[in-house]
Subunit: 159 residues, 2 copies
């Protein structure tokens, strides 16, 4: 890891919330998506592996859905963390969100071998519920759009 | 492969359409989802791997979205194949669908270590466009529901 890499929200999750196959920094087998602010938008980039294919040459939709999913929860966490007065790198533990719903529209076949760029806009629809609207861009073309409704993880989650 | 295993629609895809990370029988690194008829519903089962975690003990939503995605396209293929007079195992090449849109509602945390069961109902909304409504069940509980709109892969796909 470069010392100068922009801190991502996932860098700050508590260890028990950093095991996610999509965005957990401690999941060595996962995608390790990292979500940062880029101006007023949120940003995650990812280059799918060669096995993440739909048909040869094009990216599997489930990986795009995964990118959108974690970009959504990460963006919601960035937004609430900022509302609480913090930014990634401050060392404060951010709120952890879970996905209530995920919607993806696949607009174009997504080419493999390029870095996908996901941009998000975050809207608070309730103090504990955020909607994130996302575009996934490959080689300058919007290949998929998505919407994630993310809610603060209830303390009862999984109990 | 057992000689008596029920043929899945993915067993019949042409080789160039059998590389999918979700459901391609030829993708050794993928999930290899297999979709079959079960009465009038379609059925796919899958046990996520230990690394497919959201938080420890619970399945990553992106893997559930992937299961719903491929169950959707596989179910649409099963339905159109049947409409054309064929069933998996007949040796006829089935139509290959792509996902136009994917929607997932995450209703409950999905436990790891159990086989997930996805059931689908297929509705033709146009001769080349099918809607599949899906329930994902773990340990008898519906943990997620999904809707996939799948369209016959255009011959121009990716060109």
């Amino acid at each position: 890891m470069s010392e100068t890499r922009t801190p991502a929200i996932q860098d700050e999750y508590a260890a028990e919330f950093a095991q996610c196959y999509g965005c957990g920094r401690l999941n060595k087998d996962g995608h390790q998506f990292r979500t940062v602010w880029q101006g007023e938008k949120t940003y995650t980039e990812y280059e799918p592996a060669s096995e993440h294919t739909a048909i040869p040459g094009f990216v599997y939709g489930g990986v795009i859905a995964s990118l959108i999913d974690c970009h959504g929860t990460g963006s919601a966490s960035l937004a609430l963390h900022r509302k609480n007065g913090f930014e990634p790198g401050s060392g404060e533990e951010p709120p952890r969100f879970v996905t209530a719903s995920l919607h993806v529209d696949y607009l174009k076949p997504t080419p493999q071998g390029v870095t996908l760029k996901a941009f998000g806009e975050v809207e608070e629809i309730h103090p504990k519920k955020f909607k994130v609207t996302i575009e996934v861009i490959a080689d300058g073309t919007v290949c998929a759009t998505g919407t994630v409704v993310a809610v603060v993880m209830p303390s009862s989650f999984g109990k």
